[in-house]
Amino acid sequence: MIQTGISKLDGYLKGGIPYGKSLIYYTSPGVEGNVFGMHTLYHNLSAGKKCVFVASSSNPQAIRDVFREFGWDLNDFSERLFIVDAYSSLVGSISKEKYVVVDPENIDSISNMLRKVMEELDESVIIIFESLSTVMDLCGEKETLAAIENWNKYGMVYDNVLIYNFTAWPYQRDTLEAIKHELFDAVITVGGIAERVIFGQYFGVLNANWSDIPPKSMLFRVLRPGGIRIFIPKILVTGPFDAGKSTFVHALSTRAVSVDRVGTTVALDHGHLDYKGFSADIFGTPGQERFDPIIKMLSGEAMGIFLVVDSTVPKDFVRAKHMLDITKAQGLPLVVVANKQDLSNALKPEEIRVHFNIPANVPIVPAVAAKGEGVFEAFDTLIEKITEVA
């Protein structure tokens, strides 16, 4: 089995892609779907795997340049990476690659080269197609569909993994249906959404015949450098006055700014976190009641909430609960952060659960935000809840 290298996706695929299987990244036009195949390629090269990249819409040097934009230097892997150049002949330029498709407009020419590569390497490799849509544009829809069936069979025989980037231009309906439902062992859809005011790109597993498919899509963004990151546009950090919310935001964030006066947040803490394949923006609210209008205003569209409480001040727990109402937190993934655990009079998480009457399905994570303890445990717990399969 190999991994895609994309957070959560491997989990959704029950660990990754088994050898002998094929997978297609099926992308709506206008969305950066081709990065998925590139991300998977680089991840596997780094993991010591042998990979083949079928270049069909740009010359190999241009491809190396695009990878470099993501901070990925393909030259480090020249012994393990084989580029099948199905482009240079098209524009009449000389290719420096070992494997060159003589006539990229003829599907048999591509098929012959693929077979040659598989036979010569004669071991489990990962084959990634830069753009199946380009092949289809050049060679014809019917011809390409017939060829894919053969490539995937060959891939199965040689225990290869075949991964395709595909942009769903307005091809014939039958073609798109066959691609979505018949030809591949797994289909990952990559599209755009406009949900209220969140504009973004998502991916989801449409089907994968080796795993039950969770009905869940994830927002993502493309970082340069970095590649694909799961995108969480807003995580709210709220809680009573002096619970340590700002400290928590700063301990968690790669970068953060605060608007604080005389030691208390008056407007907002805003932090950004790039961690374990996630890119998240953190909004920390003020705690005092006089700022409630701001809390109300800022809490819309959060994907998850941290409720930070001072474990030594049980009387504030009432206010904490009230803040959950203000932030309209019902139904959102919630993690309670039991802060200041290093103080001698701190209540233990389970004592807080009883005091505060917190339902059993809401995790309480002990933390000392000032020392950075428990902060990432809390983040992992919340992310697990945000991305868990309903």
Partner: protein
């Protein structure tokens, strides 16, 4: 989805053609970045969006508390330029940054027009 972002970007690009305008951002009322034309700045547009939304929201709360209605805009002046934030419908706000010598008259007129367009796009 992409067409909406394209339309917003077009509005922002046009806004930048107005003399003195250096950068512009569309943010949601609750502080999420929707679109930006802010490349020349090192700052993160996300933080800028969140802070601007807080500012306008706080101003609205302050004036309505005193029975003075909803502000048309918030203008912040510094030695190096001006920041102007204005509502663009109930979902979004539009913010521009100008150079220090920019004349406000034309910018405010263009900003209002652009805000109306943003409102209609969303």
């Amino acid at each position: 989805m992409t067409s909406m972002i394209e339309m917003l970007n077009k509005v922002l690009v046009d806004l930048k053609k107005v003399g003195g305008v250096e950068a512009s951002v569309v943010a949601s009322r609750d502080g999420l970045l929707i679109a930006s034309n802010i490349q020349s700045y090192g700052a993160r547009a996300e933080t800028f969006a969140a802070m601007s939304a807080t500012m306008l929201g706080a101003a609205e709360t302050a004036t309505t508390e005193l029975g003075k209605g909803v502000p048309d805009r918030v203008i912040v002046e510094t030695e190096h330029g001006k920041l102007i934030a204005t509502g663009a419908g109930s979902k979004a706000l539009l913010i521009v940054l100008t150079d220090p010598d920019a004349g406000l008259g034309l910018i405010l007129v263009e900003l209002e027009k652009a805000a109306e367009k943003v409102k209609n796009i969303l």
